[in-house]
Subunit: 356 residues, 2 copies
């Protein structure tokens, strides 16, 4: 993938690290596996919990996660376990890389074994029905635990290929931030700190909406001016929504905000972008989903965020326009034009409020 | 360019406008011409000042700016003049679209004819030697005048092709902001307001530096994770520099900040990106410039901003690294790696300060 082998360059001068941290990653998807491998390289004593015993055994024998990262050999010291008590008891950091629909259930499973471990979510998304973010779920299920969330533009395949990447650890606890930086930070995977948990989490949860919008715009052959306007109006409504939930708008200047949004909107092969493109070409959601062979996550996010923004009274024109197009059959062009007819507005409303 | 004809769709329902505003654009380059044409469409009485009399005459006869926008027919009501007194006296708004190296000289020429006109810069850049921004020059040469700056991701060719675009008018004066919005705002060219003149101007002035960096990274075949990290670290150092000069970091969330940066970094055909690509492939600046056939503006900006950032004591690692590579012959990869080895940092330092 890279014409320059970043990883081998660095290996020549990497000092031997031994952080002494005991880290467990819950979940054996591509990102969880990549993070587990990164902590091993940083000298942590690392386990990865994988529910299926046969898969855990296979990883321990072959050092390959055949299903999610088939082309990559993991560090030999990475130990896969399927016993959740072994995975969680007496560890320092639990990194939770479990899909949002099972996130709560897994936290309930580990609750008996939690003493002073820090629990950090690696999962982006919103729990269906409850509109809970992963940090909400941690606080509800494990109320005493020190916690954090990790989010950023982090395609797992690029990380394991040795491409430089950055991410954000957000936590109110400086101890948690420092521990996660020690466990994960390296020259090739840089971990930046924030204390804005809500803001960092919202970037990762909302971005897929705007990948749908960008794909839709691409179907109309728009140029760079238009794409930039969509990107910044997306940031405007994301940060407006986030501020209502207690976040700092400046967080959206960082990796978890505009960084992740940029990566997502710049990935024409992503499902969200592709479903937007098909919708822009006049197809129905059903047709677009059939062509794609699976559901795009952004569609569910649109439904959830529209409902929540209406309840909160937050103006989110892009999200609402996408909802009208997808679920009410509104024509794309007339919706786009009606949005463009909005009157004089402020560029960044946290500096200069909109005129009434 | 567009598969959907935005302009003709809107023409069907455009109300007749007559703002009564008397607008003059100084300078007949592509962006100045596009803006002059936009104000005519908005019902302004508009002149465009072009120094060369023959060119002005040709535009009045053919309604085409042959040199800069040869494929586009201008509104017939747009009047080109080459007498600067006629162009400036008794007008409401003077939009200055003159290259940065002649900007001051033209303001000196118009000074005798200025009474209560608002003067608005359309020019992005920094005056050589003085490190003055266009708003500095306006305040120095026309100290009494109400003024503003316009900046955003605004490729002139896309604007005249009827592609939707947005821009920012920044001024301390609400009257100036409102007048410029009336003169220029439409469904296809949306003008957002800000009162952060320094911040808006700096986005347009600094962005070219990072297009060089992005082109250089592309030469190494980096993926989306790395590009996103470069984009957000660019925003971090741009906003750090801007805050030192009195700007609000939140401005960089808007069109003139990340919007323009996104458009610039996403334009692989731009001179700045291409010179960066050649440098990344191991060529010298001389070789890269020869291949390109002209100088990339970002190179001069790197020299200016590095000098200024050292004087101000502002940490700008990307700008300084580019300087080392281009002018000191430092190898790209070792510079990149030394940057990546920086320790634990904050994601957005205006929220959480860096640890010492």
């Amino acid at each position: 993938m890279s014409e320059l082998d970043f990883a081998s360059f660095l290996n020549n001068e990497t000092e031997v690290k031994n952080t002494g941290l005991r880290v467990t990653v819950l979940g054996g998807g591509s990102f969880g596996t990549a993070m587990a491998n990164t902590t091993v390289r940083n000298g942590c004593d690392t386990m990865i919990w994988i529910r299926d015993e046969a898969t855990a055994k296979e990883i321990n024998e072959t050092h390959i996660n055949k299903r999610y990262l088939p082309d990559f050999t993991l560090e030999k010291e990475l130990k896969a376990v399927s016993d959740i008590e072994v995975a969680v008891r007496d560890r320092d950091i639990i990194l939770v890389a479990i899909p949002s629909h099972s996130f709560r259930e897994v936290l309930r499973q580990i609750q008996p074994y939690i003493s002073s471990q820090a629990v950090v979510s690696l999962t982006k998304g919103i729990e269906a029905d409850t509109f809970s973010f992963m940090s909400d779920i941690i606080q509800e299920e494990l109320p005493e635990v020190p916690f954090g969330v990790l989010s950023g533009p982090n395609l797992a395949k690029e990380i394991v290929a040795g491409q430089p990447a950055g991410t954000v650890i957000a936590s109110d606890s400086e101890l948690v931030r420092n521990a996660v930086q020690h466990a994960l930070h390296s020259a090739l995977f840089r971990v930046f700190a924030s204390d804005d948990v809500n803001g960092v989490e919202l970037g990762g949860a909302l971005k897929n909406i705007y990948a749908v919008a960008m794909g839709m715009a691409a179907a109309f052959g728009v140029g760079e001016n238009t794409k930039s306007m969509i990107l910044t109006r997306a940031l405007a409504e994301m940060s407006r929504f986030a501020v209502e939930l207690g976040a700092n708008p400046l967080t959206f200047l960082g990796l978890s905000g505009v960084g992740d949004l940029f990566a997502t909107c710049n990935s024409p092969l992503s499902r969200n972008y592709q479903v937007g493109y098909s919708l822009g070409k006049g197809k129905t959601l059903e047709q677009a989903t059939t062509e794609l062979g699976q559901t795009a996550e952004g569609i569910n996010t649109i439904i959830q965020v529209r409902t929540r923004s209406e309840a909160l009274g937050v103006y989110m024109p892009i999200t609402c326009a996408l909802y009208e197009i997808i679920f009410k059959g509104a024509p794309v062009n007339s919706i786009a034009f009606s949005m463009m007819k909005n009157g004089h507005r402020s560029d960044v409303e946290f500096i200069l409020p909109h005129q009434q």
